[in-house]
Symmetry: C2
Subunit: 436 residues, 2 copies
């Protein structure tokens, strides 16, 4: 099996390194020879030094490429009958990467990728084209780096039916929350520290607004339940607005705040959401700290499963790509792309019943607690606890824990508060499910 | 693919139930039809009622079978050209089961089994015969029930190199230790409770002497490192001698006692042991309670992985067997039986360097602490802490935590104590590694 790599950055370079290091052992495992034939990369010298790779492997012989030259070499490799499988580690979901993925499949070559944005946002077409051309798409590396969640669902849970999939799937967010929790940092300091430690990118937008986590959940939901959902349907909430006082409220009810991806099947409907949740200290996910990822599945027969591991990193993510290569080589067979028929309908989590913690920031005048609790009661929501009200110079802030209800009910209560007294709420209350 | 099941008890019956329930969905996943054709079972009526299965599926038409009749039907099924795969859920490692497994492979049929004792103690021959006859052995269910650790190693960690595998692999022992820890029960009460709750068998010997956990570790070591080791080489220690005061000593050093399976590769040598260990509260395994199992792997590239799930149970274990059936049907291919070449040598854990906690029970006279600590020092072992000495009517008991050293050093120190004062030690001191 002859392989080419497009994009030799953090992940692609790791793949080249492992392929080179493991050599014969991989051939034994794949029951055939795996050859890395060509790498297309704009700046080969940097990549060559960083990953200790011979310049001769790079298209163009080692000189830096213009985008036009790179495009030419990419087309050459895709047209090369001797190449059987292409690793796409360019990243992003723009037209260029999308078209490249389609061309690879149409040329009858297997595609292995770590590109979660591409598969989550534009994967439907790619999977269809792969199906038409009878090629495999390996994407173990696209969801939670080194954690083998994709193969676990595709190959190990085939004798079962998945009822729910949830977890901590964005290392940057979890690192920030852990620092805020354990070191009492505020959000901006924790983000800076994450960037300095290599746990967050210079532009952390996709991580802190919940989009990256959503990409992973979209892929897992397709795989586990067989349906395609969009980022808009999920309408994720990230960690970027979490404040120190939110962490304090979490502590008061024996919880940790975690950015949770959540998908659950009930009566043939799939509920899903990505948002910060109050995770009870008894729940295993509350103890998953730093950049670590964790995925929790509940199956009909096998019960609860948890997988924990490195969610990112060069060699960590690359090891998943290499496993996909070995799998495709070994079984020389089209991987099935999901394990369930898609007879399910999607319901956004606004209709899902959770207990909630609602954090209200209000002007500091008497009568607010009465107004808020009355409006909540008017929506038939039972109140579990009302926190101590913190009075600062500028505002008052307090939290209310509810018994199980829907987000829609809470939104109606908030609408009523706004209607009764348009001047009291400062910003939108934070509404976080409590996860037991 | 036509299937037969030998033995329709807890696990075999669960398999028949899932095959019947899932039907078309399994066929879709397997990309072919899976038919359950025949079940051989001594008491079909009981099995039929327990798992809601038609009596017509059973060999003999539903009447109870003598052993001779069962043997006849087993031979018939093995000789039947229409049967492609046999699920062995009879259990045990006696000659009858061993010969049956060999016959299945020699007849060119795939074998799927949950039988850890058989594979751990007599698996070498079975794997060889399977190899010769080009058939697959599926044994996902043999190690930690529903946890997909076998396929994870065989199919997902192929782009990596496993450095260590450890974990909690016996639910009965872990349930007993959890009850002793959390409910302050003594061993016998905890065992009784485990039996009443269905977490321990009427004869719990294999569980409480560490043999069952050892069987699983032997299989994982073969799979991860490619070497065959014996139960004698492991010389496991079970939980049966753990006392309440041991739990107290664990609490003093912020640990939980857990029965740990431990295998680690260092410089081409494999160290392995199964014994109760002092697991630091920071270590994830310390929080795995009740009958739950957890496996922890550390890989060269991917780093630390943890898998948690149900280690036993009828449908839980059966779901792993069904996944093996689907996998064999889907890829119609011989599964590779280990992922590493067997160039490693085995070293028993006596040579492995751990920090240890040693619990001494002695006659209650002055001078003992001096004698014990001096003897330990004479073996070049540094002492970390000496616990408060508990004086009861009959004896004194105290613990000593060491810095990292080998079991051999500790045994030499104990020999010296015995030589100096043959009358002071009451029984063998308990020597437990401290796991960070």
């Amino acid at each position: 099996m002859n392989i080419a790599i497009f994009g030799c950055g953090t992940v692609g370079g790791g793949v080249a390194r492992i392929l080179t290091d493991m050599g014969d052992l991989l051939n034994e495992r794949a029951r055939g020879d795996i050859h890395l034939k060509k790498i297309v990369e704009l700046t080969p010298k940097t990549a060559s030094e960083r990953f200790n790779l011979p310049l001769s492997l790079f298209a163009g012989g080692g000189k830096d490429l213009t985008k036009e030259e790179a495009q030419k070499y990419i087309d050459e490799v895709i047209g090369d009958k001797n190449i059987d499988l292409i690793v796409e580690t360019i990243g992003g979901s723009n037209d260029f990467v999308f078209e490249t993925a389609l061309k690879i499949c149409r040329a009858g070559k297997h595609l292995v990728t770590a590109n979660k944005a591409l598969l989550a946002l534009r994967g439907k077409k790619i999977f269809e084209v792969a199906e038409e051309h009878n090629v495999s798409i390996g994407f173990e590396a696209a969801v939670c780096g080194a954690i083998p969640i994709i193969k676990t669902i595709r190959e190990s849970f085939t004798g079962d039916s998945i009822d729910s999939v949830s977890g901590i799937m964005n290392g940057t967010s979890n690192y920030i929350l852990t620092m805020m929790q354990n070191e009492k940092m505020d959000f901006n300091d924790a983000l800076k520290m994450a960037q300095q430690g290599g746990y967050a990118e210079a532009d952390p937008t996709l991580d802190i607004n919940g989009f990256d986590a959503s990409h992973k959940l979209i892929i897992l939901i397709k795989l586990a339940f067989g349906i395609d959902i969009t980022l808009e349907q999920l309408s994720p909430i990230g960690v970027k607005d979490i404040e120190k006082e939110d962490i304090d409220f979490a502590e008061e009810i024996s919880c940790k705040i975690k950015l949770i991806c959540f998908g659950k099947k009930i009566d043939g409907k799939i509920y899903a959401t990505v948002r910060p949740m109050m995770v009870k200290n008894d729940n295993f996910l509350s103890g998953v700290n730093g950049a670590t990822n964790a995925v929790r599945l509940v199956n009909k027969y096998g019960g609860r499963h948890i997988l924990v591991g490195a969610g990112a990193g060069s060699l960590e993510t690359a090891s998943s790509i290499v496993a996909d290569i070995v799998f495709i080589a070994r079984y020389n067979n089209k991987l099935s792309n999901c394990i369930s028929k898609s007879q399910f309908s999607f319901i956004d989590a606004g209709h899902f019943v959770f207990p909630y913690l609602i954090i209200f920031k209000t002007v500091d005048i008497p009568g607010i607690t009465g107004l808020v609790t009355t409006s909540i009661g008017n929506q038939q929501i039972n109140i579990d606890t009302v926190s101590h009200n913190r009075h600062t110079k500028e505002y008052a802030v307090f939290s209310i824990a509810t018994t199980p209800c829907t987000l829609r009910q809470i939104e109606s209560a908030i609408a009523e508060i706004r209607k009764t007294r348009p001047d009291v709420l400062l910003g939108d209350p934070k509404i976080m499910p409590i996860l037991y």
